[in-house]
């Protein structure tokens, strides 16, 4: 994985000192909260319902054991002994003191980490495929391109006061594990006639107006990648709406201007910028690529797994994924125990995951946008030992991509924007399905919960989505069906009137039962919904 050189380290260190100075001026009253807000946000510091929340960047979700240990130490030292892994492949701490924030950033800088641009109207931490470098279906590891863009976008002088936040994802396979087309810019590295290039999808997003990004250029040569991104951003910075916060994302610009006109303007800006020398030399991409070379996979490893322990066999079936190297798998550590808070991990669990990564996965971990952790390169022969250690620590839930593997935003328990709580609904749903034993029969069923229309819990992209709203001072939950964030991307539709807290749990089970009744061979919930449509579900829910 990528290692800082002295330049990268100097930049992160300078940022710590800058923020220390800004926090001091705020605490001395020299900066108003209005003036301080964009500065703290660009360092990942939010003011939430009860305390400051700090969001730490985990670029493209990749980290090593030393970094995971450091994240655990921060949870212990500055928070309440836990952290929350997010849908941006980052981690958040919910109980931070402003006075401590500069010291936390300094602790992070010691392990080549930071909170730069994890919030604010700037280019955010860049996300990627959590199986990058391990997946059998990728044309190339997408992370070097994400790293190239990370450096380009860090402290970008022109694009730090954009109309709104800006999220970029980079993938390199036809299977989309990063919700690429629901990003402001989604980039897919593709191969064409033996050459690699970048397909640019621009103007996707969730939030209150969900949009699927159209492809504006199917093949940007890799030695023009940064220049093309700069052109996309400049057109947005100049013409994106600033009159209404809710219409300020690039998806609205592309929608209102039309993808064709936006593309025309980007191409004109691109032609101009090609003369400006903004592209790093190809040697820089080559330099970055050397950090992402395969670890030394062993040859002739056994392909068979001893499945005599049924609990272990279930976990293997559910939570391990095919790897490009024979004898290896990628193993998913579920942060979705039944009745737990999706994405939360204690400091002890983080330390354990770090140690297991060191022992069993070439010292590497990944954060998934579904709020789980991946050990990307595990020998099949080590799986039983790994599972045993995870299971003892409450990390062995065999529920990847099942109805228990819920994405949920922090909701009204933490968030100042939320209208309703998300976490208790997630807890009750996972408890319901664990109790009624339907989880296994339901198979892949992606359930996503947001506590307000800002859609941090990706409800638009859930096979089943839940949106919490405020109905005359009472929490109310709308049910949505048919969304997908994957390569078969689609936006979920609302079934009808909403439900109260108990009612939404029943409604999810009712929808699941319709699927179990109607499904044909091999169909997932989503496939059945797409075949039979909304009507049978509505009849069961409201009939």
């Amino acid at each position: 994985m990528y290692k800082y050189d002295s330049y990268d380290q100097q930049m992160v260190d300078a940022r710590v000192e800058e923020f220390r100075d800004q926090a001091r001026r705020r605490l001395e009253g020299k900066l108003t909260e209005d003036q301080f807000k964009p500065l703290r946000l660009m360092n990942g510091l939010y003011l939430q319902l009860h305390a400051y929340m700090l969001r730490v960047a985990i670029p493209y979700g990749t980290l090593d054991s030393r970094q995971m240990h450091a994240l655990a130490d921060i949870a212990d030292k500055y928070d309440r002994g836990y952290g929350h892994f997010t849908t941006r492949q980052n981690i958040q701490y919910n109980w931070i003191k402003l006075e401590d924030a500069p010291d936390i950033l300094a602790d992070l800088a010691k392990v080549e980490m930071h909170a730069i641009q994890t919030s604010g109207n700037c280019i955010r931490n860049i996300s990627s495929d959590h199986f990058a470098g391990a997946a059998a279906d990728e044309v190339v590891d997408p992370r070097p391109y994400a790293e190239l863009l990370r450096q380009w976008s860090s402290f970008h002088p022109e694009f730090s006061y954009l109309p709104r936040k800006f999220k970029i994802a980079v993938i390199a396979s036809d299977t989309d594990r990063a919700a690429m087309r629901l990003h402001d810019i989604g980039i897919q590295i593709v191969e064409q006639d033996g050459e690699l290039g970048a397909a640019f999808y621009v103007g996707g997003g969730m939030g209150r107006t969900p949009m699927i990004a159209p492809c504006i250029n199917p093949f940007v040569p890799l030695d023009q990648l940064v220049t093309y991104a700069e052109a996309c951003l400049r057109v947005y910075n100049r013409h994106g709406r600033r009159d209404n916060k809710y219409k300020a994302r690039i998806k609205i610009l592309v929608h209102e201007m039309g993808a064709e006109e936006y593309t025309r303007q980007v191409e004109a800006e691109f032609a101009h910028l090609l003369e400006q020398g903004v592209e790093p030399p190809f040697a820089e991409l080559e330099r970055i690529r050397t950090f992402f070379e395969d670890p030394l996979f062993e040859a002739d490893l056994p392909a068979e797994i001893d499945r005599s322990d049924p609990d272990f066999a279930l976990w293997v079936d559910r939570n391990t994924v095919a790897h490009k190297a024979e004898g290896y798998v990628s193993a998913v550590i579920s942060l979705k125990p039944v009745g737990g808070i999706p994405g939360d991990a204690t400091a002890e669990q983080m330390h354990l995951m770090a140690d297991l990564a060191r022992d069993y996965s070439f010292d590497e971990l990944r954060v998934m946008h579904t709020q789980n952790i991946v050990l990307p390169h595990v020998r099949k022969a080590d799986l039983h030992a790994l599972w045993t250690a995870l299971d003892q620590a409450g990390l062995g839930s065999p529920n990847l991509d099942t109805v228990e593997d819920i994405i949920a935003c922090p909701g009204l328990d933490y968030c100042s924007l939320a209208n309703a709580r998300s976490i208790p609904v997630a807890q009750q749903i996972s408890e319901r399905f664990a109790a009624n034993g339907k989880t296994e029969a339901l198979g892949q069923l992606k359930l996503k919960i947001s506590g307000c229309i800002n859609a941090c819990g990706h409800h638009h992209a859930g096979h089943i989505g839940i949106l919490g709203v405020d109905k005359k001072g009472v929490e109310n939950y709308q049910l949505l069906l048919g969304g997908s964030e994957a390569e078969d991307v689609s936006l979920a539709k609302i079934t009808g009137p909403g439900f109260d807290e108990a009612g939404i749990v029943d409604a999810v089970e009712t929808a699941a039962d319709v699927y179990l009744r109607e499904r044909q061979d091999g169909e997932r919930f989503l496939d059945t919904y797409r075949r039979i449509g909304m009507t049978p579900f509505k009849e069961a829910l409201y009939g």
């Binding site: 050189d5 330049y7 990268d8 100097q10 930049m11 300078a14 000192e17 800058e18 100075d21 800004q22 001026r25 020299k30 003036q35 964009p38 500065l39 109207n121 450096q151 380009w152 860090s154 402290f155 970008h156 002088p157 022109e158 694009f159 730090s160 006061y161 954009l162 109309p163 940064v226 400049r234 910075n237 100049r238 600033r242 101009h272 400006q276 020398g277 903004v278 790093p280 030399p281 040697a283 820089e284 330099r287």
Partner: protein, 148 residues
């Protein structure tokens, strides 16, 4: 080193030449008349309209009515990319925490609504030892140093 022009106004210049002695006109007025040499670009103006006339401009003010409206950064960079060599002045809600990025985008003068603290300004402008990307200043990006 900044040239603090006087005690009373807030103008700071990083240029050796004399400031223009008349007020800036709007972009529309400038395009309609030929004798003005100072123009003020508002966030919604298209700075590219000035490009055919750069040779008769000595001062371009870029207004920041609110510091969070970042269109002026693009306006500045576009003008420098087009070869504009005259004064490029950020005016309005210009705060010390934005000036380093403004310098990178080609601004060489600031006239903030509220005077900047000189010490904070020097700290802000000397903050960054390196830069990751080329812009409208002369700084060498990290990637160029890595592959020098």
């Amino acid at each position: 080193m900044a040239d603090f022009v006087s005690d009373t106004d807030t103008l700071i210049r990083y240029r050796e030449d004399e400031p223009v002695d008349h007020a800036a006109v709007t972009v529309d007025s400038f395009l309609d008349q030929s004798n003005a040499s100072a123009v003020r670009v508002e966030p919604g103006d298209d700075a590219r309209e000035l490009i055919p006339h750069l040779d008769r401009l000595a001062l371009v003010e870029v207004n920041f009515p609110a510091f969070g409206d970042g269109r002026g950064y693009s306006s500045a960079r576009l003008l420098r990319e087009a070869g504009y060599k005259g004064e490029l002045r950020a005016v309005g809600d210009v705060l010390v925490d934005q000036v380093a990025y403004m310098r990178r985008c080609g601004f060489d003068a600031f006239e903030p609504d509220a005077a900047l603290n000189e010490e904070d300004l020097e700290t802000a402008l000397s903050r960054w030892p390196e830069v990751y990307q080329p812009a409208a200043d002369s700084r060498t990006p990290i990637w160029a140093k890595r592959h020098a």
